[in-house]
Symmetry: C2
């Protein structure tokens, strides 16, 4: 790992004493810093992996090339699901990952990304940026010696690819389903056998029938991974990921070493990358979905009964988790009350507008 | 107007020749620049006005205080509705405004902000950032010697405050309605008499009955302006503002004088302010709406008949505008095709998730 190379204040002060330029302040203000960022994602997924590059590029541009962040794909430094550990122990200064990958350590991580029947993209952002969520999550992440920065959002994800139709709650029993994050725990209550399989191994597992179903992100990424070739039914919505946040995680010791204005650059660039990823997915998903359907993919909504059964299972899981984990309960109570308020507002102007535009305007 | 004050390369080079520090490159990289920003908004509207401050604060922080933007409220340098002109003629280096204020000059401005039955917040952002909208709008703004940067979004606005209930399309006839942007033109087709009244004069006009109705933004701002005290009926949705973008406009000559990394800082800070305003409104609107309802405000959806009549009137207006204005037609054709694709995608996972969360989950 390369470390910062810049003149100390004392050294610059001594050297500059013989000139009229206020060099010390100027030289100190733009130190050269090099960081490594471990991404959880493969380079091929240009949108979700790409947000790490967007962050790095902007940080470099905004500091006149002085603060460089080099992005490494999942597996290059550490496996994609070990980014948190690599940031915590200082193997890398920062990472780009989805916090719910780490619900096995503590389910509280999930709130930083997305939890079943939780927030959509707007609500996840507002909870984190201005709703009090960031303070709660920063307190939690501090235990792991790091800070979290929202740095991407996929929008509501799809429910995944199924080899057979899922018509009733009964059809979920015994289903071997690759599903990320906390939702596996919820679905276990309905007889699903959740599978943890890395992205690269998903296609062969689904092809051979080792698993019955798999979810990843949405049309643009899923088409790239080729799931449509081995599973005909594409379900929606991904109720466990209404608006998942992808996070930049920064080692606290390294963060504290940054000059104040580099911190400001990093924060602004992360927010920009957050918005940028969401905008990019929104542009790329519609044509991808059209292509998938044109090539034979069968689009299916989860039935109302299935949605309600999953919702009930999620509430039971939350109650159990709250009883067992005070850190989880602290965040859950805030988050669930916040989202109830959000829904009362979104049901007015937002849903009034969206639903008219989606279902109310005359067909051409 | 203050101009940049920084040492030229030659001067620094001469002064630095006697020292070992590479002062010229360093000193040039952080020149002191001072800009003025003319906002269209009063300071009291801390969210929409505040985004100008968020932008300025971040730009200063990220440049170690070297690039300073001073924000002036509407009326301080120029009236709120003349920000575009002030940026165009260089009275100020930049402004913060809503581009649809200038549809009187050319209706094409509207696409930068919001047009009737157009985009929601996510769609407006994705069209601008990655959907091709920015290139089209930049080409258009270049005629006015400026660049546009998305720098705020209010979310879907409310339909406004009405002294009497509006139950049928017939009830719109003769209605004196203060309404911003292009929607006034649309509503004229249904007999509405649109009014252009500045924010500060709205309350007395509505109180005295000089006007019958007025729309501004949403619960948080509207409550501050006190409309609920003089009009009992609060309609939704504001179909003319599904996700209006508030823009930072920058004089092209001033922009080109900026060092490359200050441009990068400005762009990142504007994107951050864009997301930040939306997140702030989303936090502040729900409790404001609750307070308004608790204090007697009657919430009313526009009827399906009214929505359809307005939609039809909008399409007629668009057809007329396209026939008369090639610049408008160029953007309209791109924008409307883009949004049709967006709706086909949003009707799947996004609406599937949102509508279940809003209307599908069991009431407690």
């Amino acid at each position: 790992m390369q470390r910062r190379k810049f003149l100390t204040g004392a050294a610059v002060g001594a050297a500059a004493a013989s000139t009229t330029i206020a060099a010390p302040a100027i030289a100190q203000s733009m130190p050269e810093i090099k960081w490594r960022l471990a991404s959880s994602f493969p380079k091929s997924l240009d949108t979700i992996y790409g947000a790490g590059e967007v962050l790095a590029k902007r940080v470099a541009e905004a500091t006149d090339g002085k603060f460089q962040i080099r992005v490494f794909a999942g597996g290059e430094i550490v496996p994609g699901l070990q980014v948190l550990d690599a940031v915590q122990n200082g193997t890398v200064e920062c990472g780009h990952t989805v916090s719910y990958y780490y619900v096995g350590k503590d389910a509280t991580f999930g709130f930083d990304a997305s939890m079943p029947f939780g927030a959509n993209t707007r609500q996840q952002n507002s909870w984190l940026y201005h709703g009090g969520g960031m303070a709660l999550m920063r307190e939690f992440f501090a235990k792991y010696n790091m800070l979290n920065f929202p740095c991407g959002n996929t929008g509501t994800q799809m429910g995944g690819w199924f080899r057979k139709e899922i018509k009733t709650v009964e059809d979920l029993k015994g289903l071997k389903f690759r599903i990320g994050g906390y939702a596996g725990k919820v679905l276990t209550k309905l007889g699903v056998v959740p599978q943890q399989i890395a992205g690269g191994d998903l296609y062969p597992a689904l092809e051979k029938g080792t698993i019955d179903a798999a979810e990843w992100v949405g049309p643009y990424d899923d088409e790239k991974l080729g799931f449509n070739k081995v599973a005909p039914y594409y379900y929606y919505p991904g109720w466990w990921e209404g608006g998942p946040c992808v996070s930049a995680l920064v080692n606290k010791n390294e963060w504290e070493k940054l000059p104040k204005h580099y911190k400001a650059v990093f924060e602004a660039a992360a927010a920009e990358a957050n918005l940028d990823m969401s905008a990019k997915y929104d542009v790329l998903n519609p044509p991808a979905l059209k292509r998938l359907i044109a090539n034979g993919t069968q689009l299916r909504p989860f039935s109302k009964d299935i949605m309600l059964a999953c919702y009930k299972a999620a509430q039971e899981t939350y109650a159990e988790e709250c009883a067992a984990n005070p850190a989880f309960k602290k965040v859950f109570d805030h988050w669930s009350a916040y989202l109830a308020e959000q829904r009362s507002w979104f049901s007015v102007a937002e849903a009034g507008f969206d639903n008219f535009m989606l279902y109310g305007i005359p067909k051409k």
